[in-house]
């Protein structure tokens, strides 16, 4: 397997960073250029969900819905019936937060290629507080049959993921963050729906990250190496369908797994990995995320620190986990 191309000097102060939603905005415009079937609908958050680039380029294919998230996804379902590929955007707290049943019935059971774009997910939304910090979206979306769930790790990948979703023909959810996220992938880094990527090789533990947490996992692995812990880092942008092969291969190699997500630890990405491992390769797993509570107001960096979601905090938790848990041993 060829090595995943990572940005140089990832851990320097000057590492480039950009909101993941900005990459979505570029990807959507590119998808609009590639296919006339792509349409976009927004619930009164066109600029902040970065749909504005598409709206300006293709005004005839952009539909303003107003503050009505149930209508947002159901109008989109109808447009899909008429042959379009609709992207619908709002804050994740509202869509899929408010309109889950409409997504279940008119998108998933109805099997229409509507794309739910949930921006401002996670605690890093910051000062807006718990009402706007969506933490349950991964759990809500991944239990739905037919649904594809993607949480890109940076803006460069978000652009590729958006283009891929425009072509996958399936109900899909893409999770975006508001704040700048350091960019670890390059334009040559691979992205394929349903694939996970080994970003760094290691022997003692595998750190699996999705969305904004992948960069923090890379930072944690770097810190752990200073303490003699060799951590492998696997980036899992597609939470559903899960890349079982890559996850199992890495887990088998290191014998310990830690997952991280900027979301509820219950029912989300870590749960998906745990479900897989408990059935196919039972071993110690630690799930890092929000532990059964809501977020709160604060600066984004402060909040990540507060909830233990920075590289340094994750490294500390991983070190304790590695010291406490025996490495899972396998034959052969």
């Amino acid at each position: 397997m060829s090595k995943y191309p990572l940005v140089d000097d990832l851990f320097s102060e000057g590492v480039a960073a950009e909101p993941i939603r900005t990459g979505f905005g570029r990807g959507l415009k590119a998808a609009g250029e590639a296919s006339e079937a792509v349409v976009a609908l927004c619930a009164d958050l066109t600029d902040s969900t970065k749909m504005s680039e598409f709206a300006e380029a293709f005004p005839e294919r952009f539909v303003e819905i107003g503050v009505a998230e149930q209508n947002l996804v159901t109008v989109a379902s109808g447009m899909a019936r008429a042959g379009k590929i609709p992207f619908t955007s709002s804050y994740a707290a509202f869509s899929p937060g408010r309109n889950w049943e409409q997504i279940r019935t008119t998108v998933c059971l109805n099997d229409q290629p509507v794309k739910i774009v949930g921006s401002h997910a996670g605690v890093s939304v910051g000062p807006d507080g718990a009402t706007h910090q969506m933490l349950e979206d991964i759990a809500l979306m991944r239990v739905l049959p037919n649904m594809v769930v993607v949480a890109p790790g940076d803006s460069v990948e978000a652009e590729k993921a958006t283009l891929a979703l425009a072509e996958n023909g399936k109900p899909s959810y893409i999770r975006l963050a508001r704040e700048k996220t350091p960019i670890f992938s390059t334009k040559d880094s691979p992205f394929e729906l349903g694939k996970a990527y080994v970003l760094r090789e290691g022997a003692d533990v595998t750190l699996m990250g999705t969305g904004t947490m992948t960069y923090q996992m890379l930072a944690a692995a770097e810190k752990l190496s200073e303490h003699g812990v060799s951590a492998e880092v696997v980036h899992v942008p597609t939470i559903k369908p899960l890349d079982e092969e890559t996850i199992l291969r890495s887990a088998k190699k290191t014998g310990r797994v830690v997952t991280a997500e900027e979301a509820q630890a219950a029912g989300g990405f870590g749960s998906a990995v745990t479900e897989l491992l408990s059935e196919k390769l039972p071993m110690p797993v630690k799930r890092i995320g929000i532990q059964d509570r809501f977020g709160e107001s604060g600066a984004p960096d402060e909040l990540l620190e507060h909830f233990g979601l920075t590289g340094a905090k994750i490294a500390k938790a991983v070190k304790e986990f590695v010291e406490a848990m025996p490495q899972y041993h396998r034959e052969g």
Binding site: R61, G66, N71, G78, T105, L109, N110
Partner: protein, 288 residues
Amino acid sequence: MGTHDHLTITELRHKAYALREDVVRMLERAGSGHSAGPLDLAEIFTALYFNIMHYDPKDPEWSERDFFFLSNGHCVPIQYAAMAEAGFFPKDELMTLRQLGSRLQGHPERTKLPGLENTSGPLGSGLSQAAGVAYTLQYIDKQPHRFVYVVTGDGELDEGNIWEAAMFAGKNKLSQLVVFVDRNNIQIDGTTDNVMPLEDLHAKWESFGWHVQEIDGHNIESILDAASMARAITTMPSVIIAHTIPGKGVDFMEYDYRWHGSPPNSQQAKDALHKLRTLDGKIRGEHE
């Protein structure tokens, strides 16, 4: 497709009663399901499937077809009956309603049965899906000759999603969207007036920017005229408030909200079929 528009008003009235008989037989066989709504919608579905709509049962995805969205999915038995009669699938299949492996699910599923445009059951979402199609036809694909027809219940109008869609259609003047409201005044817990009053319903729709007509939902000519009028209005979406009698045609079901969600047992089905045939006989008598 227009293969059926040679039917006379009298023939359409007969057909509505024949579809009611199918509904009674289907519900009795299924042993569960909704009686009142499907029975009171017989004339509207007859008018839609055998006069108003353009479609090809042999090519359900025909690119020139009109669209039909059933928003209150629990009334689907009457749609299945109309579709079978129209030739979308064999009539024998009607008796598989609600059975394991059937394409005729208890609530309609698009992916199971060709000819269904949507999946509905949870109330309030069919209108906005129809609005999405109407928007696409009017503004993106620019096909002004194709129409999108919707049937909603009146109890369903309690749902907020309906009014989100009504606002959207009004704003965008979706003139190819034609909605029939089945105003039968009942819902599961009682009369609409007791559960959640809807009046002034006419004024509500009007204030959302819709062209509003009120008709006798059992009068085929009124239905055809209203649909024709709705298609002639090119500046706003149209709603046709169709006043109906729940359980229409089966006297012991009429006006009784308890038949909203119940099927007839075998004796009741026998009685119901007898009533329906007697009424149909009267229609024949009027014209002999």
